[in-house]
Amino acid sequence: MAETAYLPGLAIQEADRLESTRHSAVVRVTHWITALSFLALLVSGILILIAHPRLYWGETGGVGAPSLIDLPIPFKIGYSGWGRYVHFLSAWVSVLTGVVYVFAGLFTRHFRRNLFPARSDLSIASIWRSVLIDLRLRRPAEEESRTYNVLQRLTYLLVVFVLFPLVILSGLAMSPAIASVVPALRDSFGGQQSARTIHFFVASALVLFLFVHLAMVALAGFMSRTRDMITGGETHE
């Protein structure tokens, strides 16, 4: 108490500096932990998938049973064991990081300020305008890049509040232990194999997002945007 009283100037400076960065410390730290754990989840997920690269609908499925999709890759067993180990370890890291991010986002108004679109932007015309602007694939002007446009906001909201929860829940729905405690979870996905299939497609949607995200970052200036996500960056100088 006494110590902070001696340094009011510093405290104000600190708050000012936080306000002025492009990305808050919580966003930066959770972004990179999520990036690393997502990469681990993706690689280990592929290792698990290639042991049986077929997708089914309902409760059951296997060689000899009718499948929904046969992925055009060979069956490759032998990696799913440690693939699962890495998958679950990185799932823990990713989910706990996600919890911190969501609570911090609510608490610091990150969602309200940076992700929820303005009501006026939520018209079809406005979203369409933003699609057309993005489709020109040119480097955004500096003032444009300080804030997310409505398309970016909706995409981030979709990733944070729809795709990530869905991929977590469909993953949990596959667990026989979870199914014994909350059978409704597995049922809501239409069975264990349906949950596996949905898990695959939602994960694929997240990978698609990753590619578009990386392309947009490259378009806006890969080095400077990456640097800003590490150091925080300045929004006005």
Partner: protein
């Protein structure tokens, strides 16, 4: 200045000590309540321990795997792996398993051995369970057998027991040094061992257990993936520790990269 640093150091030391003590207490509590899997020391043990502890806290002995209807039984029940290669197995198979015995010993009051005919006289049950493989495929089948808990009660399990270990036919076969055990073996904690749906099955879909599915007797642990349901059983060993069996991870599969706990 030096005073501030001293105080800071003191506070830091206090936090460190409290943290270490907290971790110590947490580890002791986790062990006390059976939340630490035997493969916690494996290279991927941290994720495994978190998953096992979380699912153990979430599942109780009362949470039940779904029992399906006859109409849900899969037309195809894929078989994973080959029957044991050893001569004894094939001799017993040729003789209809008349000379086969299930041995149960370890921390039990009455170590015993049962013939298939004796086991079939135990009060029998049928269960229609979903079973998924680590690889991704799954099927539903009806299993006939008896609860493992019935057998455990019969032989009298001692209170210090923590694991039931299952040896298949291709493992050591007898009481050799368990550190050098070879072949397929697995273990479950007593929470799963006493679970009412954990059964020893000698029948499948209205017939004797087919060779590929583990004849003459296999374990079924419906709240875990199929790999946990050891096939071709010859010996059950009740113990307070699995650290002296094989590499001490609680299952042979851990050495090949599979997590011991398969409720995932």
């Amino acid at each position: 200045m030096s005073e501030i640093i001293t105080r800071r150091k003191l506070i830091a030391a206090g936090f460190t000590a409290a943290g270490a003590a907290g971790l110590g207490v947490a580890a002791w509590l986790a062990d006390r309540y059976g939340l630490i899997p035997p493969d916690h020391g494996h290279i991927f043990g941290s994720g495994e321990t978190a998953t096992y502890a979380a699912l153990r806290l979430l599942t109780s002995r009362h949470s039940l795997a779904r029992e399906f209807n006859r109409s849900d039984i899969s037309k195809v029940a894929p078989v994973k792996g080959e029957p044991p290669e050893n001569e004894t197995y094939h001799r017993l198979l040729a003789g209809g398993f008349a000379d086969w015995r299930l041995k149960i010993n370890g921390l039990v009051a009455r170590p015993s051995a049962y013939s298939l005919a004796e086991l079939k006289r135990f009060p029998s049950e049928t269960h229609i369970f979903h079973q998924a493989c680590e690889e991704g495929w799954s099927f539903i089948a009806e299993w006939a057998g008896f609860p493992l808990s019935y057998l455990l009660n019969l032989v009298g399990v001692m209170p210090q027991a923590r694991y039931a270990v299952f040896f298949g036919f291709d493992t050591h076969g007898d009481d050799g040094d368990l550190r050098y055990v070879k072949g397929k073996w697995n273990s479950i904690d007593m929470s799963d061992a006493w679970h009412p749906q954990t059964i020893l099955a000698y029948g499948m879909n209205g017939h004797d257990l087919p060779t590929g599915h583990g004849a003459p007797l296999r374990l079924r642990v419906p709240r875990q993936l199929g790999g946990k349901s050891t096939k071709y059983l010859s010996h059950i060993f009740v113990t307070d520790t699995v650290s002296n069996i094989g590499k001490g991870y609680g299952a042979e599969g851990v050495e090949r990269g599979f997590s011991w706990y398969a409720g995932i």
